[in-house]
Amino acid sequence: MIFSLTALLLLAQSANTFVAEQNRGDAELLNHIANLRVIIQHVARLSNALIYDGREDEKSAVAESLKISLDFFEGTLGLLSERKIFEAESSRLNLIPFQLLPIRIDPQFLNRKIFERQLDEVRIKEGVSELKSDWKNWKPMFERVAARDTELTADDIEIAVSELDDRSNMLAETISSISNEKIDRGQKVNLVILLFCVFLTVLFYISIRKIILEPIENLRSTAEAFSKGDTAVRAETKLTDEIGALAITYNKMMETVLERLKIDKERLAEIAEKNQELEKASKLKSQFLANMSHELRTPMNSIIGYSEVLLDGLDGDLSDEQRDDVDAILRSAEHLLKLINEILDLSKIEAGHMKVDIGEHKLAPIIDEIMTIINPQIKKKGLSAVVKTDDALIIRADRDRIKQIIMNLVSNAVKFTDHGSVSVTVSRRNEFAVVEVRDTGIGIPKEEIEKIFEEFHQADGKSTRKYGGTGLGLTIARRFSELMGGRIEAESEDGKGSIFRVFITMTTEKKFDFKTAPQILIVEDDPDTLALYNRHLESAGINMIQANSIADALNELESSYRAGALPKALIADLQLPDGDGRELIKTLKKDSRFSSIEIGVISIEDKDIALEELGVKYQVVKPVNRTELIKFARNLLGVKKND
């Protein structure tokens, strides 16, 4: 198709060239004819001059001139008849483009048909030979004039000149009319070629549409439908060309995609099923752990319980040897119990079931509580203790877990130190509160430092026997601190003591809201009792704050005094982790800042006259139920209830 179009355009170009060449040839002919006509006029003038009015002395020169003109005429006439255009092959239409066309036409025929070349040549040849024969007739007469044979009259010359001139003129007219015809025909040919080109272009578009555009559109709409989820759709594969092959490949690709999708779907189903199984297994595992813990603890209860029954003398007094034996049973049982608890903790952490109850807590009271418990051991070993806390520091952590972590580090420090001191220091580092536990004990060899955090690993294999312990404490401590967004690091040198640092997320701003002044401060160390009191009081619309030790209570009162929101009343337990509640009451009574606070006591001890003397108006013996507690609180606050 493209070839055909190119061939046609080349043909049009060739026809134009041909016509232009022909025109140039014709113009040359016309030029020669014009020359002939000029020569004839010259010949006539010279002849007349010789016959009539020329001066005798000049006539020989004129006759010479006439002879030259006659020769010139004959030469020009010769040029005219020798013209190349009469040789048919010299100027042909270039027909090479025709070889490219799918149609077979005899090029010569086309040449003749289109330009009627031969016919034109014949017409021009005839004209030229007529002119030649006229010249033959008249040439002898002009030769006689030139030879000064004066028998001729002017009329004779007149006739000869006009006949030659007419003949030349006719020839010129023939040539120019042929030339015009040729231009017309050339234009017609070009028009035909042009129309043919337009036709071919239209055909070209139609066929491109048919063989390329439509199949591509079909492919596109198939792809669109497929991508929208129509899995049954397929591309048309009627064509056998490249696009047809593309459509077949495309269909194959869709099949493959569908197969893959099917496989993926099956896999996903398999994975979902596996996941469910795993989830079930994980649930079973944690259930198993909970059950195990219960099952293991139940017999422990008997072992420890009966040991204690014996030690408490409920079955009668024991001999010293018997007492030592039962002590050994009890210690082993307690060790085993601790191990069970820690393994349970660790399993829960590893299964991701360990929940930490993050809240805001003051750090100082936690350390005070730990030191209260650990101080007897420190004294027993003859060590000195250094404690430096930061009262304003509030951590964001699980209070029980933090206590467990620090307790673990401090009791380790005491355990592994025979001489010197154990110190607990609190500092701030960026967003962390850092509790540093330092001892002067046996230390840890450098290469062992990271290993001590691994399960069941103690720095020295022998140390388990000498120092006891489960080998899980540090592992759990580290895991807990990580669960709460912190970490533990250790620093030590063999024989020179160890330093452990716990990093705990810290609350940067003090966020206590004193807008509504708390009405009662409850001092009680048992978190569940506190929670119960809080619920009861809240239900009666009484607003409370809490403290879990004497030190904590004093801190709380200090800060609420500074904030100008001192509670109206205080309910204290007498048995507190850092001392007797009476000490707290005495301290408060001595401090004039706190004189406005009404003090009540809820404890397991009987009413104490000494407390009444201290100014405690109300005392209640534990346990108190909701009604009692609310009545008690209202009495303290001086509120009368109307129902």
């Binding site: 909970a290 603890r297 409920l314 569940d528 119960l532 346990p623 139920n625």
Partner: protein, 122 residues
């Protein structure tokens, strides 16, 4: 008058231990091995305090405590939960169900007695 303590506990060894501790301390010990018979005992006998194991076969201690406070209307009866789960959620569940207190197994004999005393002795 001797205080009567009902113990609902399915584990015989533990029950025997509790019996020993209670009787040596001068309390009357009544044992039921499951919650249903425990509830029956509460309906017909005069009981001063209940020691309630939380992990029981069939109806567990949590459900039993709710029934005692709800259906039996024994709102003043001190109930001490005995739980081997040293987990906060179990303690809270016990308290929410109406128990006055709880003890985590294994407990010390003197701890058990001092806790009971808080609720029984004037």
């Amino acid at each position: 008058m001797t205080k009567r303590i009902l113990v609902i506990e399915d584990h015989p060894e533990n029950a025997k231990l509790v019996e020993k501790i209670l009787t040596k301390s001068g309390y009357e010990f009544i044992l039921k091995e499951d919650a249903i018979s425990g509830l029956e005992a509460l309906k017909i006998e005069k009981i001063d305090l209940l020691l309630l194991d939380i992990s029981l076969p069939g109806m567990d201690g949590i459900a039993a405590a709710k029934k005692i406070r709800g259906e039996l209307l024994l709102k003043e009866l001190p109930i001490i939960a005995l739980t081997a789960h040293a987990m906060d959620e179990d303690r809270r569940r016990a308290l929410d169900a109406g128990c006055n207190d709880y003890m985590t197994k294994p407990f010390r004999p003197h701890e058990l007695i001092s806790t009971i005393k808080r609720y029984l002795d004037e």
